[in-house]
C-alpha cells in the first residue's frame, strides 16, 4: 500500500446537507479513490455526493493549539442570542 496515496472521504447524505467526513481509502489515483469510496461508504444509500481529498493536503490544527484557537471564544457570551434578555411582552424574536 506504500505507493498508494491515502484519501479522506466526505459524503453528502442528502441534498441540502453538508458533506461529512466518513473515513479514508487508499487508491492509486483520485478516480480510483472515488470508486473505492463508493464501494466502501455508500453501499446502502448513504449518500448523493462524494468528495475524496488526498489526506496529505489537509492542514489540521494540533491538539496543543486547542487553547490558543478556541479559548478566546469561551468568554464572549455576548455573541449568543441567549445573552440578550427581552421582556416577555416583546414576544418571540
Amino acid at each position: 500500500m506504500a505507493e498508494w496515496r491515502l484519501y479522506e472521504v466526505f459524503v453528502r447524505s442528502k441534498h441540502g446537507l453538508n458533506h461529512k467526513h466518513v473515513g479514508s481509502v487508499h487508491a492509486a489515483d483520485a478516480e480510483m479513490a472515488m470508486e473505492n469510496a463508493r464501494d466502501l461508504y455508500t453501499r446502502r444509500n448513504e449518500g448523493v455526493s462524494i468528495w475524496v481529498v488526498p489526506s496529505d493536503t489537509i492542514t489540521a490544527s494540533a491538539s496543543d493549539e486547542k487553547e490558543v484557537l478556541f479559548d478566546p471564544s469561551e468568554d464572549k457570551v455576548y455573541r449568543h442570542a441567549s445573552f440578550y434578555k427581552l421582556p416577555d411582552e416583546v414576544g418571540h424574536m
Binding site: 491515502l6 473515513g23 480510483m32 453501499r43 446502502r44
Partner: protein, 330 residues
C-alpha cells in the same frame, strides 16, 4: 470476540501517583469518557495494544470472508447468492474501516498484513473451522455474527475515537448478517426435508462451541485484562459477554426447534441466566496456535490473494502514472 488474546505489555497497573503528568492527564480523560483522537498524546503501551487489537479485529473480518466464499457458487438460489455476496462485501468493508482506524495510530497496513501471513498476528479462532453444508451459512450468520455483535456493540464505547466510529458503522451493518443467517435456518426448519433439518442441527452441533470460544478465555486477574479495562479499550469481561450471548441465543435456538450440544445448558431461575458446560480450552488454544482444521488453508488463501493480485496493483499504479503524465503534457 474478534480479538481474543491481546497482550498489553503491562506487568501490573500503575497507580495515579506512579504515572507521569502526561499519563495522568491521559488516564483522567479516559476516565471522563473523553475520546482519544489520533493527534492526542497517548502512552506507548496504549498505542501498541490498540494496534494489536484493531489489526486482529481487521484480520478476522478479512479471513472471515473465506468460510462464506466457499458457498457463493453453491448457494441454493440466486436470492441467497446475492445476500451472501452482500454479506461478504460487508466483511471486506469492515476490514477496511478497521485497517484505516489502525493506520491512524501510525501502523502500516502492509506490515500488519505481513505479520498475519507470517503467523505473528492472530485472527479469531472461529474462522479456522470448515463450512461443510449450506446450513453452515445460516449458522455462521446467526451464531458467529451474533457473537460478534454482542462484543462490538460494547466496543462502540471504546476510548479510541477512530476505533469507536468504525464500530458504530460496523454494528449498523451487522444485524443484517445475523438476521439473514437466522432466516436461512428458519426456512430450512419450516419448509425443509428431514435431511435438510438434520443439516441445521449438524451445523449447530459443530459451530456452537467454537462460537462460544469467540469471547476468549475466562477472565483472570491478569494485568492484560485490567490494563485494557483501565484504558477502556475493553469494556466488559469475556465471561460477561459470553453469558449475554448465551442468554439471548438460547430462546432463538428453541424457536428453531433445535438443541445445543451441551447437556449442562439449562435455565437457572436463581441467577436469571442460563448455566452452561465447560468449554474445551485445549481445543481453543490449539486452534489459536495454528492447529485448527483450516488454519494453514486460510493463510495460504490470503497470501495467494495478495501475491496473485500484485499485477493488478502494479497496473493501477502504472495507469495512474500515465494519466498524470498525459494531464501534465496537455
Amino acid at each position: 470476540m474478534y480479538a481474543q488474546l491481546v497482550e498489553t505489555g503491562a506487568k501490573r497497573l500503575k497507580t495515579k501517583e506512579e504515572m507521569s503528568p502526561e499519563e495522568r492527564e491521559f488516564q483522567e480523560k479516559v476516565d471522563a469518557e473523553t475520546k482519544i483522537e489520533p493527534k492526542n498524546w497517548m502512552p506507548e503501551g496504549y498505542r501498541k495494544t490498540l494496534i494489536r487489537q484493531i489489526s486482529q479485529h481487521a484480520h478476522s473480518e478479512v479471513v472471515g470472508m473465506l468460510p462464506e466464499g466457499n458457498w457463493v457458487t453453491r448457494a441454493p438460489t440466486l436470492k441467497r447468492k446475492l445476500q451472501l455476496m452482500a454479506k461478504i462485501q460487508d466483511e471486506a468493508g469492515h476490514g477496511l474501516y478497521l485497517y484505516s482506524a489502525m493506520e491512524t495510530l501510525g501502523a502500516d497496513r502492509d506490515e500488519e498484513i505481513e505479520k498475519l501471513h507470517q503467523g505473528k498476528a492472530k485472527y479469531s479462532s472461529i474462522f479456522n473451522y470448515p463450512t461443510l453444508n449450506w446450513a453452515d451459512m445460516g449458522a455462521v450468520g446467526w451464531l458467529v455474527d451474533g457473537a460478534a455483535i454482542v462484543n462490538q456493540v460494547v466496543l462502540q464505547r471504546t476510548s479510541y475515537g477512530p476505533y469507536s466510529r468504525a464500530m458504530i458503522r460496523i454494528c449498523k451493518e451487522e444485524s443484517f448478517h445475523q438476521r439473514q443467517g437466522y432466516q436461512i435456518l428458519l426456512d430450512m426448519m419450516r419448509e425443509g426435508t428431514e435431511e435438510q433439518k438434520a443439516m441445521v442441527q449438524d451445523a449447530i452441533n459443530r459451530l456452537w462451541w467454537p462460537a462460544l470460544m469467540m469471547f476468549g478465555p475466562h477472565d483472570d486477574e491478569s494485568p492484560n485484562s485490567q490494563q485494557s479495562m483501565a484504558w477502556k479499550i475493553k469494556r466488559k469481561s469475556n465471561d460477561e459477554l459470553r453469558q449475554m450471548f448465551i442468554d439471548q441465543t438460547v430462546p432463538q435456538l428453541e424457536f428453531l426447534g433445535c438443541t445445543a450440544p451441551d447437556p449442562d445448558l439449562k435455565w437457572n431461575e436463581e441467577t436469571g441466566h442460563y448455566d452452561f458446560g465447560e468449554i474445551n480450552w485445549q481445543e481453543f488454544y490449539d486452534v489459536l496456535k495454528g492447529n485448527g482444521p483450516c488454519n494453514r488453508e486460510r493463510i495460504k488463501t490470503r497470501k495467494n490473494a495478495i501475491d496473485e493480485g500484485a499485477w493488478v496493483r502494479e497496473a493501477a499504479v502504472a495507469y495512474a502514472e500515465k494519466q498524470k503524465q498525459r494531464a501534465q503534457a496537455a
